[in-house]
Structure formats: C-alpha cells, structure tokens
Assembly symmetry: C2
C-alpha cells in the first residue's frame, strides 16, 4: 500500500494531453484512438496521415468532455493548450485567428466514438468579429460572402451556444428581405447582409444581455463548452437510448480551419458513399451542391445534384474525388460515408466514416469485398448487422395489387420495405397513436433529431423534402425502417393535420402505403408479399455462416406450410411445434370442447378419440415437410378454459352445437376460471390430472411416425413435456409416454426400433434450479425463456405493458427482457440449468425455443452460456436467417 | 473392482438373523434396535432385559417384511428359524405348541419402528386346533374359556388372515345366542361355544374354500404373512401419509406366548400411562377390565375401570404394577404407555412405549422431569413436539357463553380443544363436507383405523362408546384435535343421519359444540376465547428455549391489538406489518378509491393527503405496542384494482359516494384489470409508477416515529420495499425514501438522527439470483417465501388447489410447498440469496416473513440455510411460541 500511493499520485499529476493536432506539420492522433478522439477526430487524423487533403485542425479529447460533464467547467490548462494549437495552425496556414486581414476561421464540431448524425451541435465561421469580417472581405474580394459568413456565425453562435431562438434571427432577416424587396436569402446584397449583421448583434445583445464577443478566443471557448454541453441534451440522450449506445465518456470537439463551398460557382460541397448504401452496388453514390455550405446538403433544404454529374462541372475535382474514394476503401477495407468541400476549385475532405447501409447493401458489400479480396469471409460475416437482414425478409407490396392501387406520387427510395398506415403529422402524435396500437406513417416536410422517438414508433416515414442522405433517410436505413424521402408533390399542413398531393387531400384517417424500395406513395392499404426463398448474396453469406456456426438453428412452426418456409430459410429442424393451435381449427374445436366438458373419463376418452385422427394428420404433414430433421413436439400447454367461449352468446352457440345446456357450459367455464392462468392448471399439470390427453397426443405422434416410416419418410419426432417443475412430474409422464409408445408399436405391429427422445422445456425457475435431477429423466432440455422470464421476474407479459416501458425509460431495465434475454438474472437461471443438466447427463441436447431464440444479443449469450453454450436455437421462420448469421458471428467472437 | 466383487458376494451370502428371542433363557434384541425390531419388539426385549415380567416370545425383523413386500413371499429359511425359536419357547415354558395337553399358544402382532395404533392386524390364541382346544380345557379346567379362545382364533384368523367378513361369524353367533336365548356373548355356555366353533369352522370352510388349518405351524406362517401384508394396506398407507411417516422398511412381527386376562375374576387386562397424557400430571393413569382380553380395552367395547381402583381388586398386583411404572420411567426417562394382563393373579407386561400426550402434557412432563432430575433442559426442549403447542394456544369456549349454551350430554375429555360444527356420520361424509368448506364434527359410535381420513378432516370428534384410550382418543390427542369420547347418552343412527341425545334429535344441519377439555357436548355454536398469556410450565419451557435459540422470533401483525398479543407470546419484533389492510377500513377506503380514480397527479396527491393522518395514527399505535422492538413495515403491495368493487351494484354505490359516474369507475376497473394479477402491477412497481404513494407512506412512518420519539416512546420502524426484482428498483426507491425521510425531518424540525433501515423482501426469483447486487442497496432481506414459492414453482396459490392435492397424493410433491418450504427448489433460491447477500454485505440482517416462518420443518431449514442460517423468523402471533421452541430445537440439533 505504501508504495502504491506515491505512484498513483505521480500518475495523476502527469498532465493529460487534451488536444491532438492534425495537419501538414504533424498529426498527433491515430485511427485507433476513436474512444479518445471520437470517430470524426480519429478519422480526420487518419485521413491526414494517408495524405488526403484535410483542412488542418485539432481535436479535443472525449475525456475532456467527461471532465466537463462532471465538473461543469473546462479543465484548468485546456485553453492554454488550445491556444498553443491555434498558434501552430496560424503558422501552418499563414493566417491569424481574429486578424483584420485574411483571418483564420474555424469550424467547431462534435464527434463521439460512435456516429450520431445531426445530434450534436456545430458552430461555423468562428473567429469572425467586426474587425475580422472586413479582413475576410478584403482577402476574398467578396464582401457579400464575408458578411454572409459573419451573419451565419452570429446566428449559429447565438442559437447553439447562447440558446437564442432561431426565429428571432429569422424575423430580423425577414425585415431586411422586405427592405430589399427580395424573397430569397441569396438575393440580399452585401450591404444588406452587413445591416443584417448589425441587426443580428442587436438581437443577440437583447436576448443574451451582453454584446456578441469580439474576442475570437472567447468565441472558441464558449463554442467548445457548448459542444460539450450538447452531449447531455435530451435529444442526444434519447438517440443514445434508442440506439443502445452505452459506455462512452463523451464527445470530442474538432476545431478545424474553415473551407468554404459557398465562395461562388467554382465552390461546392457534397456528401457521398463509396458504394450504394441502399443496394450495395459498387458505384460512387452521393450528392453535391454548387456554391453551398455543407450543412445545406444534409439538412435537405435544397435538393442537390447526383454526384455522377460532377465531372461535367469540374473534371479535375471529379477525378481527384474518385481517387480519394478508391484510396479510402483500400485503407479502411470498408464502405465510407464522406463529406467534402470544394473551395474555389480546391478539394477538401471534411469527414470520412463507415457508411450506414441497408441489410441488402451490407450483404452485397460484404460478398463483393470478399470477391475483391479486400476482406476475408470471417470479416464479412462479422460485419453484417444481423438484425438488418429483416429488411431483406420483410414484406414487399404484391406487384399485382400495387398496379391496382391508387398512385399518389413518387419520392426517393430512401429505405427499403413496404408499409401502410394513417398519416401522423408530428413525432409526438406518432408516438401516441402507435402506442395506442395504430399503424401510422410519419409524414413530415423533413425530420430532425427531435423526431427520433416518433420515427421509431411509426411503421414508415414519408418526407416531402430532403434527399437520400437527409436525416430521415439515414436514420431510417439504420433501423431498417421503410422510408420515402423528398416526395416534393406532397404539401403538408401539419397544424391542420392535412397533406395534399396532386389534388388528393389526406387526413389522419386516410390509409396510405409507401414503398421504400421504389419511392412510391399510394392511397389505401396494399396487399403485401413475403419473400420465400433465400438466394444470391444472402445465400452465399448464410452458407459461409453455417460453416462457422457452432449452434444449429431450428424453427418454431406448428403447420406444414410454416415448416416448409423455415426449411427454405435454412432451419435444420423444428425446435417448437405447439400442438394447441391444432385444436382451435374449425373442424376440431368441437371435439376439443366435448373433451373439456366431459363429465367423466369415458366421455373424455370418446371426445379424444375424435381428435386423434386430426392430430395424426397434422403430425404427418409436418414430418413430411421436415423429413430427416428433428421435430420437437410440445404436448398440450394452455389451460383448458382457453378453448371455451367466455361470452354468453358464444356459449349458447356452443351449447347448441354440442347439444348441451348453456348453463352447463357456463358452469364449466366458471369451474375452470383461474385467478392467474399463467400460474395455473396447464402444461404438464394437465397431463398429470388428465393422462388420457397425453396418451392421445403421444398415440397420434407415434401413429404418424409409423405411417411415415412405412412410406419411407424419415420422421424424427421428439416429445417435449412442458412446464416441468419437479423431476417427479417428468418421471411419471415419461413413463406414461414410453408405455403409450410401446402400446402403439404393439397395436401397429411395428417391430423396428422407434427412437423418440423425450425431454422437457425448462421454463419454471424451480426446474432450472433442480436441472440436475430433471436431466436424469430428460433426453433434452429446451429453454422456454418467455415463461422463464415471466416467472423469474414475476412479470405477466399480458400485464407488464403498464410499467415495463417506464422501467426501460427510467433505466431500471436495460431493455425489455421479453425482447432480449435478461442475462444477469434469467440468464443465470439458464446458466445454472445448463451446468447442472450437463453434469448429471453429459451430452444432453440443449436448445432454446423462446422468442429470444431469434434475438441477436440473446443468441450470442446462448452461444456461451454455462461454459460451452446451447446446441441450437429455435426461432420464428423469418428470424432463421438472422439466427444463422448471429450463430456464426457468436462462434467467431467466441474464438476471439 | 476385482477385489470388491467377491467381498460383496461373501456379505450377501452371510445369513441375516431374522428372529430375535426374548425370555428368561436369553434376549437377543436391544432397545436400540427399533428400526430392525420395531418399537414393540425392541421394548419387549428391553423390558425382558430389565427384569420385567414379559411373556417370552420372539420378534421377526422389519427387514424380513421388506423382503416380503418385495418378493411377495416369506424368505427361504425363515420358517426354519421360526421353528427353532418355537422349540426354545417350548423348553422355557414347558409347554408344546399345538399339544393336546396344555398347549403353548401365541399372539402374533405387528410392530413398526414408529407406533401406529390399531393400524396393523393381530391374531391371538394361535396354536389352538380341534385337538389342542381340548388340552387347553383340561389344563385350565375351564372348557368355556378354551372354546371361547378357539372361536376367537377362528374368527380372527378367518377375518384377518383369510379376509372372511366379520359379519358372517357374527351371524353364526347370533344363531347360537338365539338358540340359548341369551343376549350377551358371555352368557353362552361352554357347549354353546363348542357348537359355535363348529359353526365358525363351517363359515370358514365355505368362505375360504378349505378347512380351518389344524397344523399350528401353518397357522403361524399364515399369520406372519398376514401381518406383513397389512403393512401395505390402504389404511396403513393412509396413516403413514397423514402422519408423514417415511423411510421405514416395514413392520416387525412379534410372536409371543399368550397370557389371558379372561381366565376368570382373578384375571384382567389393562392399559395405562405412567403420567396423565392429557394434563401431564405425575399420576398413574389408565384403565383395566376384569376378566377380559386386552383388545377389549382399546376397542372401547366395554367401559373399563379407572386404574386407581385396582388396589381394591388386588393389592399385590397393584403394588407390583406401581413398581413397574417407577422402574420404567427411571429406565426410559420418559412417560410410558403400557399394556398389561393379569392371568390368574399374575402380572404380565405386554408392551411399553413412549406415551402420546397432549401439548400441555408434553410441556408439563418435560418441566416436571427436569425438576425430578430425570432429564436436562436440552432433552426437555428437544422432546416437546412444537406443533402440539397449538393445542395450548387453541381457542376454548367462553365460560359465560357456555353457561348459556344448551347442554346436551357429557362424555370423556379425550383430547382438549373446543370446536363447533354440524354432525357428519361417516368418515367419507366428513371428508367430503370438510372439503366443501363446512366445519363438521365426526359423530361415531366408535372410530376405527379406516376412519383416519375423516377424523383428520373433521373439526372435532365425538364418540358414544370407548374410553380415554380408545382409538378415537389416542389418534385425536396425537393430532391435537378436539375429541369427546364415550358420550353414552348419544344414540346414533348413522344410516338415517340422525343422533338422539336426551330426547333432542340432531341432524346434519344442527350445529353442535364439543369441549375436549371437559367432555361437554352442547347444542348450537358457542363463542370461543383465545388464550392471551403464556404462563406456568409453557413460560418456563419457552424461557429455556429463548436461551438456546440462535434465531429470533418476530411476528406478522398489522394492528396494535395483534402486535400486543404477539408480544405477549414472546415476539421480539414485527417482521411483517402489511399496510394495505389499513386502507380497507371503512373510514379510509373512500380516500383510497379517490386516489386510484384520480385522473392526474394533483388529484392523486389530494386523496393521499387524506390517507396520511390515518396511516400515521396506525403506525403510532403499532410503534407504541412494540416500543423498543423493530417493526418492519411493508409498503403498499397489492394491485390497485383490489381496492375497487367489481360488481356493478357496488360500483354504483361507490360512484354515489365519490360523486362520480358509475361508468368512470367501471372504466377504471376495466383499465386496471389484469390477466395475472400475481405477476402484475403491484409491489414496488406501484411505487415506481406512482412515487407519490410511497412518499405518503414514508411520510406517515417518519411522522409517527418522530411523534413517538417526542413522547419518549422508542419507535423502531424498518421500511420494507416489496417485490424487488432488480437492484435498480431498490436503488431508485431507496433514494426516494431517504429523500422523503429528510424532508419530513426538516419539516418537523427534528434534529436528532433517525435510524430507519431500508430493506426489501426477497420474493421474486430474480431477486434471489441477483441478491449480491440487491444487497448493495438493502439493509435487510426478508424472504417472502409465499410468493417465492408461487413464482419458483409457477403455482398460483389461488388456482393450484385443482392439482396440488393430486400432486401430493401421487408423490410428485412430498408435501404442500405452501405449508412447508420446498427445500430442494425454493430452498435453493433462499440459500443462493443468503450466500450472495452476505458476501456482498456481511452482516446484512436476514429474516423470513412468509407463512413458512411458523412451520417447524421450515424453521429448522431456515436455521442453517446458506451456511449459517437466517437471523429471525416471523410468523402469525399464535405460531410465535411454536417458532420459539423450534428455533431452540433447531439450535440444539445444529450443535449435534
């Protein structure tokens, strides 16, 4: 202890380096320092290192942000370090910060380790003062440009740093525009802009209570503080919550020398992706605006030119930019999302980062890059966000029905998918109506970071302005949410709750359909189709995945058609075949009800006899669809009252059908009523008290199996007994099952061996805790993590909606435990059960059939739980491809 | 492996000794061999060893019974060993088995390691044949006695061994009695009994299909087989189940030379306790019958003489018996239950065993024996069956109300207690009606082993014949069930369902009240009183217990009156004070409903303000009653809909009271409706979504505490937050609680420190699993094992009644897990939580407040769970003395 203390003191007294320079003279940072410098900062340093034309600057570390968040002020010494770096920049660029002749100007931008588009605030043109603006005018010989830059600074600084309402500046601008009788900002002459600066400074003084700072270093300091403060803004917090961004210290601040895309017709600005982020095609993809500042492109205020047209405007720059594209991909081995500016014909790179893309693009890019030998298969697999595959498996509109649908207009195909719903005209409205169960399309002129909650709630997003890289498009693609952007024919009056498109008035009650793959907007609901086959690049990727994955992927399916589809999607078996759905069908529910209403065993057996052939036929169909693959059949699980009608009218109808008195049915319903059906007479408890039900089901399974075998169909049923809480239950029911199997064999004179594993679900906490005993009599465990979650937490899924959202909101739960398994609690129960189960029966087959079986985070957990993980996961057919990919990713991650 | 196999073979080839002789010549068995020889066999050997006059005989081991149960036949070689022992007896007694002159006769009786009165079958007079009976007549010069013995043998052997209905023999007897025109058996002359033997043999031949065996060794063999078979009889199995007798191999068989209490007026038989089994008084207590066989006393067919009267009949024997009594108590250091027979003035001891006794007797005997230096305090404590204390704490009739009650008749005070109910005239009827929720008194002429289920179900037992040691009396005392026996004025017609007593006709609809302490039977229900104070011997025992117990005992109490009573019963604190009951009272439910129906926070807070003074007053009352002791207050737990009426009529009434529309109430009820309220919006989840409720309750607690402190009352509240599932919940709510405590302190200007521990219930499996994290923010844990059991098993207590009894019946569960904690499953969760809790917060206070806190088996478990056990148990006031005793017993047992 005595030796440690001084060392500690020494460490903390050593000064942290807070500013990292990048420029021609030196570059302090590295690409690997994303945590410290933020994504943007690290990449600026990296781009500088590889010789790309980056305006020089420096990055203030995220640690500094953390210190600021903790103490509420900039750390001592920071501004001295900032000043030293400013001096270095002045030397490199030959300009002076705040000088009255050709002043050095800065942009100040945020940049966290994870990209958060549009969430953090930015100040441009920093360093302009009453004095410096004239220097800029002289140096550029463009007073209009200089005054425009100054008024932008006052506006932005006032708004972002000092919290002055943007509208106050707008009103001042309107007065000037009226004065000069012009409509567009760009038509105001230089002297008007000079007057505007005076007016803006007055607005500033009135709102802030002090004059606009004429000390450029003060401007810089306040801006740095503002960026750091914006880390804790509600919208930023909300974005991090929705995107589950955690564990970051804060944002970095990038102070970079200004370059201008709005210095005339030889200037411009643009954003681009090195490949098509929507399809993944290997083509340069982006947009640019001539004579504009960078923010204009992203904000979607003016509609930009496609980047392919740049060659016509400036062939040299276009060639240079294509070289940059190629250099970046070779350097990063990844598709890049870049921002650039051309100042008087000179190209500057402002940013590069890994580009967001659709699921389809992610797959295509991964496969292409493997072909191009940029990456290997393991990297390709690890890089595809599995959840994004949903997009490729998502419904699309039925082409025939779409032809018949009333076409309204066409926008940009910003994020693929197909959805229908009623317009919601604000984010709040979308949240509320979606929460009430309505399917809504968020219809907005454009979206902004404040809208993320509403965008998340909506079934789809439709905007009237903005391009493929607008806020709406980028965010929607990130989520795989259907989005049509820039549908210019749409005129929205959000306050009135009305949109007009080509003469058609749309209110909150009109259903519209949007196709994110084509950009089409239609009136009314359009039938959607569901993709059936996996082919092309996705098939390639999944083949690679299967070769890497340790865990198998099965599916939850109750009918031959679902089984077939899941098999097409790559399922290698059925992990959960629920038998109760079979009883609800029109032709069987009668017999089921007779069974439940029977007064004694013979009457019950008579009704069960009627159900037997139906069950047998169902099983035969499923065995055929899954021939050669295991089919885990769960015996009857829900409480019997679920099969009886609860309304008097329906009871009368059933009474008529079954030739009973309505009172008899009402009495039985009353008798079967339960206070807590989730914890009631269901699952194996039914089989203990009504063994004849189990016997009928086992009989149907074995008869179907024998019938298949006789037709040379390789049927592989596994019998799963649900809701086991004690090993004694399973002992008794296993014996009954085995006895019935032998009875059927004898009756059918089937002499060959029938291999039917008998196992149980682990869904009762007690079964998990005593899994060593249960494993003694179980050939397999299948974790029913839905019910296990309900009981471990004491949450009824039907009722928890009242408080669960608030629990996630308040951070009591990291996420909804029904969506992603609660690893700390429920996960421990699974872990205990896996270890105990394997100890008592080495080699016992272990799987999961709860909905968590299709959730990537949960699948990763299942890959390692209990030391060496489960043998398989089972999920709904549409999640099968995702699960296959995650299983591979989990295996790769486990290998390290 | 190669060396083990031969050793094994050698062991199993060594012959087991199966017969253990006891007599003057040698005694093979020892008192310590109860498991092998049964209680009776070991005691017969032991009594013989200490020189008591025991008729010689031998005992066949319980292992032999196990072999018989397994194989269905007597083991090879057994009968040879039996024959060798018979030969030894013939030598010792100078008589020959089956001889035609003075034959040796045997009784054959069962005797398991644990006493099961009346459950196993017995055959007497074994060895009589057509030839031997004449030898007996000659030897005794009493032909009547000889023929009577023979007819008894044929009847008993036919009935017990061969399963011939008793009535068939009875009918034959009736014919003989008619023939001799007598009414009583005893009036039939010797020649009539000889004819009766002929008739009985004919009955036997007709029913069995072969003649009554004339080979005495065959009689013996069949009898041994019959005793062994009776181990598996339904009544025996049922008795073992009810009394939770487990792990025994089988019963032993005691073959003993016959002695006769019915050889004339100088003979007799009796049963006695060495102390009064009802009060514990140190007095010789029992009954005897002159000229009778032993079974006559126990069966209650003739009403016997009190034992104190024996001196008048035969002073020598009386003195001898008193010496035996003293010798037995000195030898066993325990109260004994003995059977004896006097044959022609000579005393024989047939049996001794530890005597069953009431709870009061157990306490008094234990205290007396410590005073008499027969045992020490630890032995005394260990010996009192804790559950039997309930008897001493059970209600008794209010003396004033009893005086007013309509007296019907008086029987014997067979087992103390007081109960009221409607007559049930058969065991089956009692079971059925009790299951339907009715309180019934089982009214029978006499009870038999077949009736045990019905006796168990009834609130009390009333018989018209039989004494204090009759079957009904012995069994009822064992259970602590109220019983009045031998109420001779009661005339029962079970078939008609009517009893007539002193002219009053009682049907199934009449309520009667029986006082087991006085023997009184009354018409109608009589108000009962509840014992308030603990005094005398019980107080002594519990003082000893407290000195030995490691765990403290608290109580569950919600009102000052209950708190007061529990304190009188020795509770050292309140472990669970539920606050919801307080809201149901007439004067508060209105405000509570207003709170629930409030549309917004201000309205809710207004209603809560009304509740605050009520809560504060409640807490003050409880703090006063428990001054100086900790009071653990659980914050609101049940879902809000429990406070609203569900019926339309009641809703209209509430609407009127609160000046609302009925539809508003119906809508809120609908809104609050839950599918599974057990897993719904309750417990701490209410506090998370409605923090204002928590704030009001904490405010009330702290204000009450401060108010008490100002009156110099040492109030010690502990705040318990229910239903915690994650540590984050507790973090948030703890912060809110602490904040509120500080607010109140400030508002009340209370400057001294307020020490209010804040903890949680562990009742959610996830909380148990993550107890290390929860303990970080909890000052204490209180295990809510009711809910923990519900969730760990997935059983709703409200609904499990449909299958739980069947689960216990089928052996799936050893016992109802809500009565006694499931140590294997739920117990493991408690164990995990204790270990994790203590690891993360050493010294954390741990208790249990589920109903298991009053169950002896569970308390023993809690004493050692998690390595070093809980700090306290909390139970209902009436269980407090029991818990104190069990806590001491558990400490003694843990010491070893």
């Amino acid at each position: 202890m005595t030796t440690t203390a001084p060392r500690k003191a020494r460490t903390s007294s050593r000064k942290k380096k807070r500013c990292f320079y990048f420029g021609a003279r030196k570059t302090d940072g590295k690409a690997s320092q994303k945590i410290l410098l933020g994504g943007k900062g690290a990449n600026l340093a990296d781009m500088t290192s590889i010789g790309l034309p980056v305006p020089p600057g420096f990055t203030i570390t995220t640690e500094t942000c953390a210190d600021f968040s903790r103490t509420g002020k900039l750390p001592a010494g920071l501004m001295d370090e900032v000043k030293r770096n400013v001096t270095l920049l002045e030397k490199e660029l030959g300009k002076k910060f705040g000088s009255s002749s050709d002043p050095l100007l800065f942009s100040v931008r945020s940049g966290a380790a994870v990209s958060m588009p549009g969430m953090m605030d930015t100040v441009l043109n920093l360093g302009l003062t009453d004095k410096a603006v004239r220097g800029l005018a002289d140096a550029t010989s463009n007073p209009r440009f200089a005054w425009d830059a100054y008024r932008r600074l006052i506006n932005m600084f006032g708004n972002v740093v000092m919290g002055v309402s943007h509208e106050k500046f707008e009103r001042a601008f309107d007065i000037i525009k009226k004065k000069y009788r012009v409509e567009l900002d760009t038509d105001v002459p230089a002297e008007g802009l000079e007057k505007l600066c005076t007016a803006y400074k007055a607005v500033y003084r009135k709102a802030v209570g002090s004059v606009f700072p004429q000390d450029p270093m003060k401007q810089l300091q306040h801006s740095i503080e503002a960026v750091f403060s914006s880390w804790e803004k509600d919208t930023a917090i909300s974005y991090r919550r929705i995107n589950e961004i955690k564990g970051l210290a804060g944002t970095a601040v990038n102070v970079q020398s200004m370059v201008y895309g709005n210095m005339g017709e030889d200037s411009g600005t643009g954003v681009a992706f090195t490949r098509n982020p929507s399809t993944g095609k290997n083509e340069f993809y982006g947009e640019f605006l001539i004579n504009a500042q960078g923010e204009d492109v992203v904000a979607g205020i003016r509609t930009p030119e496609p980047i392919a047209g740049m060659g016509k405007w400036n062939a040299k720059v276009w060639k240079q930019l294509q070289a940059v594209r190629s250099k970046l991909e070779k350097h990063y081995h990844e598709m890049q999302d870049i921002e650039f500016t051309i100042e008087r014909g000179r190209l500057f790179m402002l940013q590069t980062r890994t580009g967001k893309r659709t699921g389809a693009a992610a797959v295509k890019i991964a496969v292409d890059m493997v072909k191009e030998r940029l990456i290997n298969r393991d990297v390709a697999l690890a890089r595809i966000p599995a959840n994004d595959l949903t997009q490729m498996l998502l419904p699309s509109f039925d082409p025939a029905m779409k032809k018949k649908a009333k076409f309204l207009c066409k926008g940009l195909p910003a994020s693929p998918g197909a959805s229908s719903g009623c317009p919601a005209f604000s984010a709040e409205e979308a949240v509320e109506r979606a929460a009430a169960g309505e399917s809504v399309i968020l219809v907005r002129k454009e979206t902004s970071p404040e809208d993320v909650d509403g965008m998340h709630s909506a079934a789809g997003i439709l905007t009237s302005t903005g391009g493929m890289t607008s806020h709406a498009a980028v965010v929607a693609r990130g989520w795989g949410k259907c989005c049509v952007a820039g549908a210019g024919e749409l005129h929205i009056d959000a306050r009135k709750g009305v949109a007009v498109v080509n003469g058609k008035r749309l209110t909150r009650k009109d259903v519209i359909s949007i196709d994110g793959a084509t950009g089409e907007v239609m009136h009314g609901e359009v039938k959607r189709n569901v993709p059936k086959k996996i082919s092309g690049d996705l098939a390639t990727v999944l083949k690679w995945a299967d070769a890497r994955a340790r865990m198998k992927v099965r599916t939850n399916a109750d009918a031959p058609v679902d089984a077939k589809r899941a098999r097409d999607f790559g399922a290698v078996g059925i992990g959960l075949c629920r038998t109760e759905h079979m009883f609800f069908q029109e032709d069987r529910i009668g017999a089921m009800r007779q069974m439940i209403l029977a007064e004694d065993l013979p009457a019950r057996e008579k009704a069960l006899k009627k159900l037997l052939p139906f069950q047998r036929r169902d099983f035969e169909g499923i065995f055929k669809a899954m021939k050669g693959c295991p089919v885990t059949i769960r015996l009857l699980d829900p409480p019997l009252h679920e099969f009886l009608p609860h309304e008097a009218k329906a009871q009368r109808e059933v009474a008529r059908q079954l030739n009973l008195k309505p009172a008899q049915i009402a009495r039985r319903v009353e008798q079967l009523h339960e206070m807590n059906p989730m914890l009631g007479h269901r699952g194996c408890r039914l089989a203990v008290t009504y063994p004849e039900i189990l016997r009928m089901q086992v009989r149907a399974i074995v008869e179907a199996m024998i019938s298949c075998k006789k037709k040379r169909i390789d049927a592989r049923p596994e019998i799963m007994i649900p809701l086991i809480g004690t090993c004694e239950e399973l002992q008794i029911l296993r014996a009954l099952t085995e006895e019935t199997i032998q009875e059927v064999r004898k009756a059918k004179k089937y002499t060959a061996k029938l291999n039917i594993p008998i196992g149980t679900m682990i869904e009762i906490p007690r079964a998990a805790i005593t899994a060593d005993e249960v494993a003694d009599v179980a050939d397999f465990f299948s974790f029913g993590t839905n019910d296990l979650t309900q009981m471990a937490f004491g949450y009824s899924r039907d009722d928890a909606g009242v408080f669960l959202p608030e629990y996630v909101e308040q951070g009591i739960l990291e996420r909804d435990p029904f969506e992603s398994i609660d690893q700390d609690g429920v996960g421990q129960l699974v872990d205990i059960a896996v270890r105990k189960g394997r100890t008592s029966r080495p080699g016992i087959k272990l799987g999961v059939c709860g909905e968590h079986g299709g959730d990537p985070l949960s699948i990763e957990f299942f890959n390692t739980v209990g030391g060496c993980g489960l043998d398989y996961v089972s999920c709904s057919p549409f999640r099968v491809p995702i699960a296959r990919l995650v299983a591979a990713q989990a295996s790769l991650a486990a290998k390290g």
